[in-house]
């Protein structure tokens, strides 16, 4: 391994050498059943006392072969499956898939559908970040924020439920647009939520942002430099916390994002605290987008005319969106039949998790937990 | 009243046990613990005589002994730890090189 690769964090088939342990070193298996590995992640830590000398993420406990399943389902049939990848941000997953297939078909959803998609996707971003905030704070030992976060998330899930009948794995969109028209009080619900939500974020920040212990636990912990982040393919809030202003919504606008004003929050130092601040700021931005969008939902059709049986022309397409956790991409190859020839998902959690090894070196066991939390992984997406 | 000789006898037994421990065990930590036992036996003696003569001087001595034991434990264990780091053993028999 040359020095450049080492610097970029590309190990050769990386694994911990457990045969030779230094004095005072122990191997600690964190997970797959550990309260704060957020699912069934297993991390093998080589510890010197409480300091991490080396780490290895072992994944695959939740592998369900989602990509393989796609090859035996028709395009619309596969859409519900993508909800099960990042199950706390199902709407975003569905959005990415639907838009990718639309691109493959050469179709485009009507404006009304695109705006509604934007609203729901941004609400989903807030919901996902709320869940992250709660569990992250819980990992660091703050018991209370999770209940506040869940309370607000519940409001969002209620909106989803009223819209499409499901709360978690929503399958809210269809290829070509929306299946359902918005319900009567949709605008009012979204607006009321967004208006209340501003002060709710302030509440969370009161509990955490300037708390000495919180700062002590997160500042300078799990630092990821911008170069490392880019080299490792890290995206989303983790990347932006390292100072790289990259957001698919701005760079390659999709849905209706080009219509709205919003900022891409970034921070400089790329530590856990910055990732926290970036996500908090993103929630505020998502709220602003929702407020802008909900005021002028265009009238019109919600479904494009794409026919009953979807047979995209042979070819391939890559489409990515900015999911709550980072760039969520779908690479779909069509052979002209009703089933995709190959679907490859670029899950943000999987790539972000790669940075863990780099962040955790030299950290303490308590920091490991904070770092995992700050990456915001969902194992359903990592393992697919 | 229990005659003071009983206390002295108890002290003697503990002292002897401590001596045997120091001389026979190979593990340095246990040797150090045996030394603590010896100091403890001395303390019983001191306190018993303090009680016999109705003066607290013996107790004050015992306090000094405890302070000494604390110092000894701290330094002794420090040495043991350092030794263990370098040689991966805490056996007295293997401490035969006069260097780390």
């Amino acid at each position: 391994m040359n020095a450049g690769q080492e610097a970029a964090g590309f190990g050769t088939a990386h694994g911990i050498d457990t045969t030779v342990l230094g004095e005072n070193e122990i191997i600690l298996n964190m997970g797959p059943q550990h309260p704060s590995t957020h699912g069934v992640l297993r991390i093998k830590l080589r510890l010197d006392g409480e300091r991490v000398v080396d780490s290895e993420c072992i994944i695959g406990y939740l592998h369900r072969g989602v990509e393989k399943i796609a090859e035996h389902r028709s395009y619309p049939q596969f859409a519900p499956y993508v909800d099960r990848m990042d199950y706390v941000a199902a709407v975003s997953n569905g959005l990415g898939y639907c838009e990718a297939v639309e691109k493959l078909l050469g179709a485009e959803a009507p404006p009304r559908a695109r705006v509604v998609r934007t609203i729901l996707a941004e609400l989903q971003r807030i919901a996902s970040h709320l869940l992250w905030l709660g569990t992250h704070a819980l990992d660091i030992g703050a018991l209370t924020p999770i209940f506040y976060a869940m309370r607000e998330r519940e409001e969002i899930l209620k909106i989803f439920e009223k819209y499409c009948g499901a709360r978690l794995t929503t399958h809210a969109f269809r290829i070509g647009g929306l299946q359902y028209e918005t319900y009567d009080t949709f605008e009012r619900d979204v607006k009321r939520f967004c208006e209340d939500f501003a002060q709710k974020i302030d509440q969370y920040e009161t509990l955490l942002t300037e708390n000495r212990i919180w700062i002590g636990r997160t500042k300078g912990v799990g630092v990821l430099s911008a170069d490392d982040a880019i080299a490792l393919g890290v995206t989303g809030p983790v990347l932006r916390a390292s100072g790289v202003e990259w957001d698919v919504r701005k760079a390659l606008p999709y849905a209706a994002y080009d219509r709205y004003q919003f900022e891409v929050p970034t921070r400089e130092s790329g530590d856990t605290y910055d990732r926290y601040l970036v996500r908090i700021a993103e929630m505020r931005q998502a709220r602003l987008i929702c407020l802008q969008a909900v005021d002028g939902i265009p009238e019109g059709a919600i479904m494009a005319r794409i026919g009953k049986v979807l047979k995209p022309p042979p070819g391939e397409v890559y489409h990515s969106i900015e999911g709550p956790k980072g760039e969520l991409g779908y690479y779909i190859v069509s052979d002209g039949t009703i089933q995709p020839y190959r679907v490859r998902v670029r899950p943000p959690s999987f790539f972000n998790l790669q940075a863990f090894h780099r962040m955790a070196r030299g950290a303490m066991v308590a920091d490991v937990v904070a770092i995992i939390g700050s990456i915001d992984i969902v194992l359903g997406e990592v393992d697919r | 009243m229990i005659p003071v000789s009983h206390y002295l006898f108890l002290s003697l037994v503990l002292f002897a046990v401590g001596v045997v421990g120091v001389l026979t065990r190979r593990n340095v930590i246990i040797m150090l613990m045996s030394i603590e036992l010896i100091l403890n036996a001395v303390n019983i003696n001191l306190v018993a005589f303090s009680r016999l003569y109705g003066s607290v001087d013996g107790q004050v001595f015992a306090i000094f002994v405890i302070a000494d034991a604390a110092a000894e434990a701290a330094v002794g264990l420090g040495i043991i730890l350092a030794f263990f780091r370098n040689r991966k053993t805490i056996h007295a028999d293997e401490m035969h090189l006069l260097k780390w």
Partner: protein, 169 residues
């Protein structure tokens, strides 16, 4: 005072028994536990001798401080190797002889002084104000020794820090 006498023999037996177990256990943690028991039994004897302050100091410093340090260090060193090692070295004869000689010496002394060694009735003033009495003696008559002891502790502390510090390997 019958109860007090019973207590003495109880504590004495406890101390002797657990000290004997202490030097024979294979597992160092067990040995440490038995040493703690011995120390607590000794503390009981101090209480029975109406040295209340020393009783508390024994628990606080010996059992609660020094022995915790021992246990801590025991956990730092690798026990698996120890469990398989030979427990005793070959100095039984020397140890036995030395212990025997010591025992004879003390027994002779005890025999010689058997007439004088009886505890007088407790001087109540001493018992009631034990802590104050100890403090008075410590900070007047034994002031110099006290200061020396504190310097000793300081030196030991620095020494322990230097020893325990990881050298730049």
């Amino acid at each position: 005072m019958v109860l007090a006498n019973i207590l003495f023999y109880f504590f004495a037996l406890l101390a002797v028994g657990s000290s004997a177990l202490m030097i024979t256990r294979k597992n160092i943690v067990h040995a440490a536990v038995f040493l703690v028991t011995t120390l607590l039994a000794t503390a009981g004897i101090f209480l029975q001798l109406e040295a209340e302050f020393l009783f508390v100091v024994q628990i606080l410093v010996y059992a609660g401080g020094i022995m915790v340090l021992f246990v801590f260090v025991i956990m730092l060193v690798n026990l698996d190797i120890e469990m398989r090692a030979v427990r005793f070295n070959g100095q039984w004869k020397v140890a036995g002889a030395l212990a025997f000689v010591l025992a004879m010496q003390v027994l002779t002394a005890l025999w010689a002084g058997r007439k004088t060694f009886h505890l007088p009735a407790p001087p109540t003033a001493l018992a009631a104000k034990n802590t104050e009495a100890v403090a008075d003696a410590l900070f007047s008559h034994f002031m110099l020794a006290f200061e020396v002891a504190s310097i000793l502790l300081l030196v030991a502390m620095i020494g322990a820090v230097v020893m325990g510090k990881r050298s730049a390997e």
